[in-house]
Symmetry: D2
Subunit: 337 residues, 4 copies
């Protein structure tokens, strides 16, 4: 059996996923690409051996032979696209975040449930070999009970000012810590119950001008009593720094590295190595594997690895952590609706 | 010139400092040891080539030829000893923490100021080569403005239940994060203004029985806007884990290692190394260097590297962070008196 | 312009290169596969979207529309295949080693030169990001003059006894150190002039029964006076261990890592990580990049990155090093014909 | 019981050992120092609390109360001093190398045996925690049978031209690889049977002017069939680089590190750390421990950890490896007399 897949969104990230869809997923047939920018759609289609392109995704969704869609568009379009795809009976892969509000998440989840299609959200770290190895060890009991979660998500550059606006990105914490909040639930096996954030605009004053910050720390309290902290930064000029620790009662895990290439340059009294330039260098394999797993979930008719509910939960933590920053107090997840 | 030094407290930690005093500080003349347990004092004196021992420290303090004392006794005796030593005109080195309450800290500081003697508090990490190198690089501008402080202090074992009681140790956060709070002020060059803690008794229920916890995370907000987080744990069974990161606007620093011995054992499909067993293995050199610097400060008639005010400030953060845990809210340092 | 490529050899390694040819080289059109095992050819063709398969490679070579062939067959067939492909006017990529004797190398090189086609030999480390970074730094003068070359090539398993026979693999040194001998010339910028080997059958006595050894060290003396050493082993049970050092007059380089996944497991008093399981895990990206570069060289009508002469030189070092082992004396490269 | 020890040689290295003797060995009574430069002897005596100094070591040796001497003088004086000390009935610790010729080694060994005193030679790596841990793991069978020995000994600077002369240092290989040759025997548990060296004067032409080289590689063949290689260099400008690998049938060991301080500086796209500046920084603890063990061996009336025969064997390998370089051929240890 093969799964016919259409892509909505031929931008940079869409191109990356398209590449994996075309070349890494044997059972997928990459069939169509939709983008209002039809030249972008056509150019990408040519590279990937895809024959059909659409400027209007609605038209693509009318095809009966299409089994699934991959949505890689700005966050504020996700819900509308998901509703349309679900109504057309297509299985859905959407890039994270699902949406910036819980109401929007719920709208998408309801549409998917009503239509009886599958939806997977692109928290690709579940498919990164390092994180996957950690999850397997935790599940195998290698560290006993996880009791503390520490995670770092730092970018080596400032985001665009337009994107930084809270209506577009959700703000620094929601935007950058989304993966960490997702990892927190996944690796700790418990829901986050309360959060407390501190943050500031410390390096890029222009981010403050549009209402954002550039560094933050977020304390986590889990439902099972475990504790945690996530830090995010826009000024890790040394490189893309993604690391996680899980401290357990019988052992611990550390995931992540600063080094990209295994080459050391040794000069007078020092040793230097390079760093990881960005998320595509770090997680290219994970993007390929998640798309493969999405197609496999359709073939196997099983639940996807990261569901709409998972995405909603990560979004809720992001909203709570941002409210904590705004209101300078701990915020319970139960407050977020 | 030489400095004649007496030691008060011949226990395990006193023995360690005594050793450095005897053998690593050329300009110190290690002259006397006082301990109610006179056998302990005599035994240590013999090892260190010290001739005079006292069961009552008051008697030792009456000696005119003694320039300074090193106090290595339980925390709740510090203030009384400091007051007596100051009144006798002796310079004072005291192990950390100075005291568990600000009132007690102030009593000690006042006594020292009134007597016009010097006091240094044993935050030995200032003298560790790794932390010292970090401080020098920060001061040299190597990382621009420090904007985030992350620090880890994890023990591989549970403390004694007696010590765990809040009246003895101050509780997990005050006890274990004291060094991190001190580092926060020292490396960031700014006071801590607000803290928020989450913690729990997750691994050792017997600690909960005596009112303590075993894991905690503490968010920090600095007066200059910078942010930070400290985590502490009693169940780092893998080893003594002391690491700090300072993220700056133009670079960052990471301090600390998990590895004690540079020997790797490579067996089927894996590579393993040992870890640092405890604080004496990690900071032996720093203990030697701090005692040396204390004696040098007396000789040079200059301010000590870590003053009573520094110790008071670290204590205040510990009290605030513990109150935050108790009251489940951020606590301003200005609330602590 | 596109380059139409046919593959000869649909075995395990052929499958790996086929995959890269199909999915990683945009300008290549992967057109045909030849293998006496026609089922293997057909199965691979299906996976790669290739339409034409042949049980006899001669038939494939008669196609006028084919620009190039990729040869991934047992070493002892290389020369015959290269001669046939060259005679048919096809550009040639062949897996290493080119051949086990200099006479065979010369036969292949002459055929290629006579036909005026390009030939590239699969020393893929030239395309590994870590080795490439090292080469670039050397060329940029970052380490001054390279004066010592150290390289390690260790497998975590015993090869098959059939393959171990000298007529098939060339013996341990020629087989396993071929890449290192190639790197030696490439990174040091000088020819190897003299070699001396020590080796033994120390772990797998069955290798001795078929005339092979399992561990060896090879001293190198370069024409420019530089020195070096290569070690090879079949019993690196901890993992696939590929590392190289280049010591220069003004700095040095270290290339290689033992760690595959950036996950550490911390248990009682120790920290462990995994290792690299084998050459496909370590060099997958390099295989993709070398095939891409081969196609690009055809398009650009330029010299390939690793020529027949390069392969001949590496083979000569392997022969000399093996003779040194047999005769327990240093062997000059000038002795090898 | 205590052991009264006198030091012969108050130079830089003598000062280092004196310090450990004075402050790290509880059961030793550091009694006297002899040096023709009496000011040096007196200055060192003052620092170490030693009362008696001598410009003529013969005079010191006449003291009946002296149990042992520590000899830290130029290599060419060792034999004469050892003979005098042995004749006076003193136990002897001598810095390595024992002597540069086997005849001289034998003269010393015979004198010691005749006098019935103990002699230990300062191969301090036996007392380094990393090497000691490796030895213990090998003895415990953690790596099965050791089959390959790889060792690196690189200095970050050129030695003095006077010292470089072969009559003073034995030449690069004998001088720098002495520790590695000693480790080879100790860790592999087998004698070296044959060596082959390549070397050159590649960075410091002035070394060539006095007959020395600056880089070399030495192949080793052990009596039990195992193989090995040692490289030495004077131009490891990045730092003092001491590393050893032992590859076994069931596992392997790697000993050594490039990093001195656990501080990383992360700047734009790179991570850097410092390196180990020299042998005193790397092996300070080992020097202390070896002197302690020498005194303990006297107290326990047991064999010293590194005997005259061990030193003779290491010297023989150095002579053979140097002859191999001179004669461009493998040299059997049995050739060396």
């Amino acid at each position: 059996m093969t799964v016919k897949v259409g892509l909505i969104g031929a931008g940079r990230m869409g191109g990356a996923l398209a590449y994996h869809l075309a070349f890494s997923v044997e059972t997928a047939v990459f069939t169509a690409i939709a983008d209002p920018n039809i030249e972008a759609a056509q150019s990408l289609a040519k590279k990937c051996g895809v024959t059909d392109t659409y400027s209007d995704y609605h038209e693509m969704l009318t095809r009966d032979d299409l089994d699934a869609v991959v949505i890689v568009t700005p966050t504020n379009t996700h819900v509308e696209l998901i509703k349309a795809a679900a109504a057309a009976g297509k299985h859905i892969f959407t890039e994270k975040p699902l949406a910036l509000t819980l109401a929007a998440c719920d709208e998408a989840i309801t549409a998917v449930e009503t239509a009886g299609v599958k939806m997977m959200v692109g928290f690709m770290r579940h498919f990164d070999p390092a994180y996957r190895a950690a999850k397997q060890k935790i599940d195998a009991g290698a560290i006993g009970n996880p009791v503390m979660f520490k995670s770092i998500g730092r970018d080596p550059w400032r985001t665009s000012l337009e994107y930084a606006k809270r209506e577009n990105s959700g703000g620094l914490i929601a935007d950058m810590a989304a993966h960490d909040f997702d990892l927190a639930r996944w690796l700790m096996g418990s829901e986050v119950e309360r959060v407390h954030s501190e943050g500031g605009c410390l390096v890029f004053p222009e981010l403050g001008d549009v209402g954002d910050i550039d560094n933050a720390v977020v304390n986590l309290k889990f439902a099972n009593g475990a504790v945690g902290n996530v830090d995010v930064s826009r000024n890790a000029i040394y490189g893309y720094d993604i690391r996680t620790e899980v401290i357990g009662s019988e052992g611990s895990l550390m995931i992540g590295t600063l080094q990209q290439t295994s080459t050391l340059l040794l000069t007078r009294n020092q040793v230097c190595h390079d760093t990881i330039p960005g998320f595509m260098a770090r997680f290219a394999g994970a993007y390929a594997a998640e798309i493969r797993d999405f197609v496999q979930a359709i073939e196997d008719n099983r639940e996807t690895a990261v569901t709409g509910q998972d995405a909603r939960a990560a979004t809720a933590i992001g909203i709570a952590a941002t409210r904590s920053l705004d209101e300078a107090r701990p915020v319970l997840l139960s407050e977020i609706e």
